[in-house]
Amino acid sequence: MAPRVGIVGIGHCRFGNSSDYDLVDVIAYSANDALQDAGGLELRKQVDQVFVGNMAAGMFNHVTSAASALVSRMDMEPVPAELIENGPASGASAIRMGYMAIASGMADVVLVAAGEVMRSVSGWEATNIVATMSHTEAEYNMGLTLPGFAGMFTRLYMEKYGMTERDLALVAVKDHANGALNKYSHVQIPVTIDAIADGESANVVNNYVAEPLRMYSTCPISDGSAAVILVNMDSPKAKLFRKKAIRIAGMGAATDTHCVHNRKDPLVLDAVRLSSQMAYKMAGIGPADISFAELHDAFVIFELLNSEEVGFFERGKSFIGVRNHETEIGGRIPINTSGGLKAKGHPVGATGVSQVVELVRQLRGEAEEGRQVKDPKYGMAVNFGGFGNNVITTILAKD
C-alpha cells in the first residue's frame, strides 16, 4: 500500500510585479517561506527531492535549469532536483511528481517550488509567449492567442446557454471581493457590479479585451511564486515538522486533444471531468463532499465551465449558481476563495502550487478574516495546462 502523502509547509509571495528580481530568487523566497512554515530553514537538509514548476523562463527571463539554480541558491546540494514544465499546469504537475516520488518510496520529503516572472516582457509579448502552448500550425500561426480563444469559447457558451456578459462580471465581483482580502493577491481591489457592468461608464471602465471578454473577465499578467513541502506521513521524518500534515487525498490528471477543433464539442472539457473523476475516486468522495475549490480561471468562463465539469453544477447552469451567490464564501460551494487567477494573479508556472497553498491555508483555518470557509473538510484544486488539454486535479483533506 502506498504511503500517505501530506503537506507540512507552505510558502507564497505576494503576486504582482517582481520583474526587478531574479526568477530563482523569486522562487527561493517561497521555498524558504515554506521551510519556515514547516519548522525552520534547517529542514532543507531533510529534503530528498526538489521539483520546480515553471512554464517559460527560457523565453521570459532567458533562464534555463532553474531547479539546479534553486538548489544551489538555497545551499541544498546534493539533493536531486528537476524542472517540471506543463504549461500553466506546471505547478500542479510538480506537486504530482512529488506525490509520485513519495508514493513510489524514492523519497520521504519533497520540496515543490514554482514560479514565473512574466512582467520582464511587455504584456503583448507575454501573451505571445503563453500562446506558444497552442497548436503551432492550426492555432498559433493563425494568430490565435489565449484571450482570443477564450473570447470565442465564451461567445459559444453564451449562445448555447443564455449566459450574459453581466454574469461574467458577477464572477469577477465575487473573485475580487475574495482577492481583496488575500494578502498574496496581485489585485487587492474589490469591484462593484454597477461599475463594471451596469453603470454608464462600464463600457470604458471594463473595456473589451477579446469580445465578449472584458478586462474584468481576464486574469492580470503576474509574477510570483509558491511552494509546498510534501512528506511521507508514515515515515519517521514526518515527526520533524511542526505543522500537522494536510493530506493529499486524491489526484487526477488527464489530457485532451491539442487542437481544440478536434474536439466533438469545444464546450466539453473532457480532461477536467476525467481528472476530477480520478481524484474523487482516489479520495473516495464525490462533488458534494468538497467544502470549497480553487478552479483555474485565467478567464472567468473557465471557472464556470470547470465548476460544471467537476460536478458542482449541471452543464450550462453554473452561472445561475453564481447569480444565486452559491459560489461565494458562505455559499453552497465557495469557489476561488483566494481571488482565483482573476484577482490573485496568474504567474503561469506558479499557479498550480499557489492553488494548493490556498487549500492548505483554508483547511488549517489560516485564511484571512472574511474569506475563511467555515470548518472545511475537503478542498479541491483544478489546474489547467493549455486550452483545457492537460489538467491536474488535487483534493486535500483535513483528517
Binding site: N17, W124, V187, P190, T192, A195, V204, Y216
Partner: protein, 230 residues
C-alpha cells in the same frame, strides 16, 4: 505678486482657452472620481503630490514625475504658454494628474500623465479627459503625443492606434526631447471616443464639492512603507 515690466517680458503670451467642464467617473472599485481642471492656486498640492515620486525609477515614475514637476511649476509661475492641468480626485485625494498645452487653434501638445492610484485605469481615464479637452473643447484638429515609458506606449500608441509621425521629423516634432512623435487626429478620436472616454456631466454640486479642496495622498503604492509627514 507685483508684475513689473521685466516679469511681463518673461511671461509667454496666453491664448484665451475654453474651460474644461468637470465630470465624474465611477471606477471599477465603485469609487467616484471627479475629473476637473486645476486652478493655479492648487499648484502646491499638485507639486507636493508629485514630489515623492521623483526617486521611483520603477515604471519610469522618476522621469515622468520630474518633468511633470517642472511643467506644473512652469504653469504656476507663468513660464509655459497655454498649459492646462487636469486632476482626478477621489473624495478630494489626488488619484492622478495630466498636463498638456494648447499650441494653437489646430494643434495640441500632450505633456505627461501621472497615475498615483494604480489598478483602476485612472491614468487611462485622465489621458482620455486630456484628449477630450484638446479635441472637443479647445477644438484642435490634432494632438502630438510621446511616450516615455512602456506603459505609456501601450496605453496611448497601441490602444489608440495613434499615427506615427516620426518620419516627418523635424517638420513634425513633439516638444519633449525629440522622441518619436505620434498624433491623435480628430478622426482617430471620433473612432476611439466611445470606448476610451467616459464621464457624467454635469457633476452634482455635492459631488463636485468633494474635490473642491485637493488633498495630497498620504501613501503611495509606488513607495511601500512611505507615509506623508514621516
Amino acid at each position: 505678486m507685483a508684475i513689473d515690466e521685466l516679469e511681463k517680458k518673461l511671461r509667454p503670451p496666453e491664448a484665451q482657452m475654453a474651460p474644461y467642464p468637470p465630470k465624474v467617473i465611477t471606477l471599477a472599485s465603485g469609487e467616484v472620481m471627479v475629473v476637473r481642471e486645476c486652478r493655479r492656486e492648487e499648484a502646491g498640492a499638485l507639486l507636493g503630490t508629485v514630489y515623492p515620486l521623483l526617486g521611483v525609477s520603477k515604471d519610469y515614475y522618476d522621469i515622468v514625475a520630474a518633468r511633470m514637476y517642472s511643467e506644473i511649476l512652469g504653469w504656476f509661475r507663468y513660464r509655459v504658454a497655454n498649459e492646462f492641468v487636469i486632476v482626478g480626485a477621489i473624495n478630494g485625494e489626488i488619484a492622478g494628474i495630466v498636463t498638456s498645452r494648447h499650441v494653437d487653434g489646430k494643434t495640441g501638445m500632450s505633456l505627461h500623465t501621472l497615475t498615483i492610484k494604480r489598478g483602476l485605469r485612472v491614468g487611462a481615464q485622465l489621458f482620455a479627459a486630456k484628449m477630450e479637452h484638446h479635441i472637443e473643447y479647445l477644438k484642435e484638429e490634432e494632438v502630438h503625443i510621446v511616450a516615455e515609458s512602456p506603459i505609456g506606449f501601450k496605453r496611448w500608441m497601441i490602444e489608440y492606434e495613434l499615427e506615427d509621425r516620426s518620419a516627418q521629423y523635424p517638420a513634425v516634432r513633439h516638444e519633449l526631447g525629440g522622441v518619436p512623435t505620434f498624433t491623435l487626429t480628430r478622426r482617430l478620436w471620433d473612432a476611439v471616443r466611445p470606448v476610451k472616454c467616459t464621464g457624467t456631466r454635469p457633476v452634482a454640486p455635492e459631488v463636485l464639492k468633494t474635490a473642491d479642496k485637493l488633498r495630497m495622498p498620504s501613501e503611495y503604492v509606488q513607495l511601500p512603507g512611505w507615509k506623508r509627514g514621516d
